[in-house]
């Protein structure tokens, strides 16, 4: 066990500056209107830095810088861009602890996650897109003996990206890596709940990119996000968040006729078939861990397995073992490496989770464990902690239909394969899902029948680069985490060339 010192303490691996401005054109620039907002850590509720409160003027300045940089950046060789992404990855890797602890402090998540997952995945993602852009090829179509269609990839120009607060660094890199690899300049707005840790990242990598290629404007959605998303000078907007804002962003994009990519969450089913419990072996243990994955990142994951569906013959025993496994989750100080679950990201998030626990109770769902705010004592009493909570109920209850975005799972039983698929698909969303079975045929069929963009089979919450990630139904548009995302950041230029000496014969 080790416990990292809080940022700012003499023996901490990281310290935040007392204030962060916007990063525009390669420099830190004060907000045009001179306003800043406080940034508290959800670990204790105390403010630890203040951040520029951006407005339309700052967004315009960032777009000026981005358009200044875009033409020459877009003409750099793929080798040059790939080398820069690889250097960014190397620098982040060399500063992994510093960035991980900064992110934990700002978001409240356990540092075992940021150290072992968030930041290493960000590093790998940059390397993946460095490789993908090097290996990307245009193609040609031979139309006839004398006519050839050449297809070239060209960058879009300047793109806007709005980042969520649940993985402040990793979600930024998911969006930045393909955009930069493809040769675009970026104006990025971090979430207002987690605006600072990306600047710790920038301290490490900023000098690697030409000025203006990556610009960061902080601020609130209505004041900074809207002028970015609705701006005539972006060629694409990417957003991760929820459905109403997703619709609003699409609406702005429709006014400017630009493409969007959206990742809007889900209500992911985690389906356990009878044969999971055929033996009490390592696989059974793995399945129990798979159930408990709803608590990963305090449940603040778009793909949180927040609906567990268990086949009726194994239901009582499997559920009992799952409750036991859940009760072993160690909640504590997020900077302690033994801690498995930390703080919810904000007070409003905490309040929302508690409001859902309330409606779950009213609807008659039974609480099998948890169900309360957790007071961890001492300095943590001011933080936002929720006990891992298991509800038992049925799929028509609101706790089965809405993403609570907390460490809360709702459990129901199913009778047979068809019942499992029916319940799994009875949702507005289709982002994540999992099926657990020792029978490969059942697992394969279920994986194909569930209407979701990512179905884990006999595992959960793995996010390797090179496995496409995105939603069916109301969960969004586009696929991240895979080289196909390059298409969302590139134009296709077709040169249609005639090698014939002769007139076409029309006139």
């Amino acid at each position: 066990m080790a416990k990292y010192a809080a940022p700012g303490q003499p023996d901490s691996v990281v310290s935040f500056k007392p204030r962060y401005d916007h990063f525009i054109g390669g420099d830190y620039v004060a907000p045009a209107r001179g306003q800043y907002f406080e940034n508290p850590t959800p670990i204790t509720g105390e403010t630890f830095t203040e951040v520029a409160r951006g407005t339309a003027e700052d967004v315009e300045a960032a777009l000026d810088a981005a358009w200044g940089a875009a033409p020459s950046w877009g003409k750099t060789s793929v080798t040059e861009r790939a080398n820069i992404l690889n250097k960014m990855a190397d620098r982040i890797e060399a500063n992994l602890e510093k960035i991980a602890i900064a992110e934990s402090w700002e978001n409240g998540k356990a540092c075992r996650e940021t150290l072992a997952a968030d930041i290493p995945l960000a590093v790998d993602h940059l390397r993946y897109f460095a490789g993908a852009i090097r290996a990307q090829e245009g193609n040609i179509s031979q139309i006839d003996e004398d006519t050839v269609a050449y297809h070239f990839h060209e960058p879009l120009g300047v793109v806007g990206q709005i980042i969520p607060w649940n993985f402040p660094i990793l979600m930024a890199i998911w969006k930045l890596a393909p955009a930069l690899a493809a040769g675009n300049a970026v104006v990025l707005k971090p979430a207002e709940q987690t605006p600072a840790s990306i600047h710790v990242l920038m301290d490490v990598i900023a000098d690697l990119l030409p000025p203006g290629v990556l610009n960061i404007v902080n601020g609130f959605g209505v004041e900074a996000g809207k002028p970015l998303a609705s701006n005539k000078r972006i060629r694409k907007i990417a957003f991760t968040g929820e459905t109403t804002t997703g619709r609003l962003i699409m609406q702005y994009a429709s006014e400017n006729l630009i493409p969007v990519t959206l990742e809007l969450g889900g209500k992911s089913p985690n389906v356990f078939f009878n044969d999971v419990a055929a033996k009490n072996d390592a696989f059974y243990d793995k399945a129990l861990e798979g159930f408990a994955m709803f608590a990963l990142n305090q449940g603040e994951v778009c793909t949180c397995p927040s609906r567990a569906l268990i086949q009726q013959e194994i239901y009582p025993e499997f559920l009992q073992d799952s409750v036991k496994r859940t009760e072993q989750i160690k909640q504590g100080h997020p900077l302690d490496t033994d801690t498995m679950i930390g703080a919810q990201a904000s007070n409003d998030q905490l309040e929302k989770i508690l409001s859902y626990i309330d409606i779950g109770r009213q609807e008659g769902a039974k609480i099998l464990t948890g169900g309360e705010r957790a007071d961890l004592g001492g300095e943590l009493s001011g933080g936002y902690y929720v006990q891992p909570t298991i509800f038992e109920g049925n799929n028509s209850m609101r706790v089965f239909q809405e993403e609570i975005f907390g460490p809360v799972v709702s459990v129901a039983r199913f009778t047979d394969y068809d019942d499992a698929i029916k319940i799994a698909n009875d949702t507005l969303y289709g982002l994540g899902a999992a099926v657990w079975s020792r029978d490969g045929n059942v697992a394969y069929r279920a994986g194909r029948d569930i209407q979701a963009g990512r179905v884990w089979v006999n595992n959960y919450h793995a996010y390797p680069a090179h496995a496409a990630f995105g939603g069916y139904k109301q969960s969004g548009v586009g696929r991240e985490n895979h080289k196909m995302m390059l298409d969302h950041y590139q134009q296709t230029k077709n040169l249609l060339v005639s090698y014939s000496q002769n007139a076409q014969g029309f006139f």
Binding site: L248, G265, C302, D348, D358
Partner: protein, 143 residues
């Protein structure tokens, strides 16, 4: 956008939830106070209930008309605050199908959310408190 018929106004493309405007949505006094302050800054307001992740399942408050509602939405009712124009409350009809058995009260808590909702920069966030309709209410609302 009131549910009251008005010959001068073209008919809304947004269907009303059954018996909307009577009992489906309400406000806490604290939320009403914030709506007064926010109207001074942003003009007349509206709500659209979100779903999905991050700030999903939270109500979004926008300047009225900023968010384009349409045929896929339902109008649950209007929130009334003294001195303000009625504040329409909308939700997508697909989401309403899963919510219609619950009464919604717009409350406000400390926080900031991360959508484009207008209250966020003020350090507060609107939040939905829900309760089940009683059997009598359900019968009246849903026939």
């Amino acid at each position: 956008m009131s549910s009251a018929p008005d010959a001068a106004v073209p008919e809304s493309p947004v269907p009303d939830a059954p018996d909307s405007g009577t009992a489906r949505v309400a406000l806490t006094p604290a939320a009403a106070e914030w709506l007064v302050k926010l109207t001074v800054i942003h003009g007349p307001l509206m709500f659209h209930q979100s779903g999905g992740c991050c700030d999903g399942s939270a109500p979004m408050c926008y300047p009225d008309g900023d968010f384009k509602i349409g045929g896929s939405d339902v109008h649950l009712g209007d929130l009334s605050v003294e001195g303000l124009a009625p504040i329409g409350f909308y939700m997508s009809s697909s989401q309403f199908a899963y919510w219609k058995h619950t009464h919604l009260t717009v409350d406000v808590v400390q926080g900031r959310g991360s959508g484009f909702s207008v209250e966020a920069p003020e350090g507060v966030r609107f939040l939905i408190r829900s309760r089940l309709f009683t059997d009598e209410e359900s019968a009246a609302l849903n026939g």
